[in-house]
């Protein structure tokens, strides 16, 4: 029997939303492989119960495999890789999300299993029983298709590309026995940085600002717009990150995050090729810039040529009206 592992993530005992995307991709893969006979096993790591885990059956999980260990309250790379190494030996594919955690864990598991790994997959198909994955390379300037010839196929999917899908499956809960492992790295804790918890790489809407904002305090305008939009994160160009106006965690582009939100609003950003690399896969792009020849308008679906200090407050106002 074929089985696909969907590796979920939790933080502070609560399942992370991106896990439903991982599960959607795993379900899609299961339905495409071997004429649809594969089962999807969602793997949940935690110290005890993880909030939201029992709902995974509603999103396509045939089984929910809970791996409980005192150390799994936090991310525990060595222990979790050891669990997945064992589970992976009898799986046909292991699906991760290409998040900070997934990017750390997927290659470890692949190396332990002696198989290759496809990172940041945005689409896939099955040809002759083998997974063929599409992934952006050269900062999104090209799309590479790779065939994963070894088994299990290990892949991580880009957040915001495989929407969470409600599919009712059994979602039978089983507990996984934890193999012996040697802990080489200890995660001692997390600290919240400035700027809220919604990450630009996962937010459904991103409002980004560049040097056109003139000074750090003016980012308040974008925070207000993001608040009005709801579910939005504030991003930044490298120019303003390097200037120390915004945290690197918010940087979008080649040496920052790659984002694929439903809506990306670029404010006072010229649209340098390295910035475009990080956001060109957004579904809808809006640009606000006073220079009508700014390269950002070449990728924008909708543009307003004008002074951001006039346009943005007005936009916030109109969005608020709409949301009322």
């Amino acid at each position: 029997m074929t089985s696909i592992l969907a590796v979920t993530e939790q933080r502070d005992g609560v399942l992370r939303k991106v896990s439903l995307e991982t599960l959607a991709a795993a379900r899609q893969l299961a339905d495409a492989m071997n004429g649809g006979g594969a089962t999807v096993d969602a793997v949940v790591f935690g110290e005890g119960d993880v909030k939201g885990a029992d709902e995974l059956g509603g999103y396509g999980a045939d089984r929910i495999q809970t791996a409980n260990h005192a150390e799994f309250a936090r991310y525990a790379p060595d222990g979790q890789a050891a669990v997945l190494e064992v589970l992976g030996r009898s799986a046909d594919a292991i699906v991760f999300a290409a998040t900070a955690t997934g990017r750390d864990l997927a290659p470890r598991v692949a190396a332990r299993l002696g198989v290759a790994c496809a990172t940041d997959v945005t689409a896939f198909g099955v040809e002759d029983g083998k997974l063929v994955a599409t992934r952006p390379v050269y900062a999104g300037k090209a799309l590479q298709k790779v065939r994963l010839t070894a088994s299990p196929a290990v892949l991580s999917i880009r957040p915001n590309t495989f929407p969470a899908t409600e599919v009712a499956k059994a979602g039978a809960i089983e507990s996984v026995s934890i193999p012996e492992f040697s802990r080489r790295v200890t995660v001692t804790g997390t600290k919240a940085p400035e700027g809220g918890v919604l990450d630009v790489a996962e937010a459904p809407i991103v409002v980004s600002g560049g040097r056109g904002l003139k000074e750090p305090a003016n980012f308040r305008l974008l925070e207000e717009l993001a608040a009005a939009l709801g579910n939005a994160a504030v991003g930044a160009s490298r120019a303003v990150v390097d200037a120390g106006w915004r945290d690197h965690a918010a940087q979008v582009g080649q040496t920052g995050k790659t984002v694929s939100p439903g809506l990306y609003v670029a404010v006072g950003i010229s649209g340098a090729i390295q910035h475009l690399a990080g956001m060109r896969t957004a579904k809808v792009i809006v640009a606000i810039n006073k220079d009508k020849d700014a390269p950002i308008f070449k990728v924008a679906d909708y543009g307003i040529v004008g002074d951001l200090f006039e346009v943005v407050p007005r936009l916030t106002e109109e969005v608020k009206k709409l949301r009322e």
């Binding site: 890789a81 998040t99 900070a100 955690t101 990017r103 750390d104 290659p107 470890r108 692949a110 190396a111 332990r112 198989v115 290759a116 790994c117 496809a118 990172t119 063929v132 992934r135 952006p136 390379v137 050269y138 900062a139 300037k141 090209a142 799309l143 590479q144 790779v146 065939r147 070894a150 080489r184 790295v185 995660v187 001692t188 804790g189 997390t190 600290k191 919240a192 940085p193 918890v197 690197h248 809506l263 390295q274 060109r280 579904k283 809808v284 792009i285 809006v286 990728v299 679906d301 909708y302 543009g303 307003i304 040529v305 004008g306 407050p313 007005r314 936009l315 109109e318 969005v319 709409l322």
Partner: protein
Amino acid sequence: MKIAVCLKRVPDTTTKIVIGADGVSIDETGVKFVPNPYDEYAIEAAISLKETAGTGEAVVYSLGGDAAQETMRTALAMGMDRGVLLQAPGSPDGLVIAKAFAAELEDQGFDLVLFGKMAVDDYNHQVGPMTAELLALPCITAVAHLDVTDGTITADREIEGALESSTCTLPAVLTCEKGLNTPRLPKLKGIMAAKKKPLEVKPVDLDGGGLEVVSLELPPDRPPGRIVGEGADAVPDLVNLLRTEAKAL
């Protein structure tokens, strides 16, 4: 402190991508190659850790064709002591590269093996943690803040909406994130000295790996956009289009 850095030669980030005749790689005609930007943070970390320790060696490794030597000289000019090129053709997958590095680095007594978080050409984020697993060494990825004291590493990495702190002991593998430090520029004296530093070339045999590149294509062009209007007066039209046409609000 004995430190290794794995450095990849990659196309400059401004490169306009042209697909090669084989349909699976880029056309390298006229492309400028540079050290992978994330690997420069690794080089800077290696040099400054060695400087702080007062003794030791910082060795730069690369896997690829002979052209990688030029990139390695840049690292030597920054202050790395010597280089080893694992000479191999083609573009092997991450695990194949990791196996070659693991075989080379094993038993050499390195306290630290440093990588970039990812290579900006393939975006794989793999070779560092894979090499660590093969060597059974502790590994912290995407390190943005680092402290090494008395054989213990404390490191912070960016996770979504937070910083995650980890600790481990030497020897260890780290992959470097932007913000870790500011890479130094090679000085003229360093460039002159680099010409005389040892750069060993070792041919390696690689297996075929498990990732076959089927095709490389340019992404579909975004459909041409439009300027909705000028100034704040255009905002209601924009909001309307976002709501009704794009269904983004």
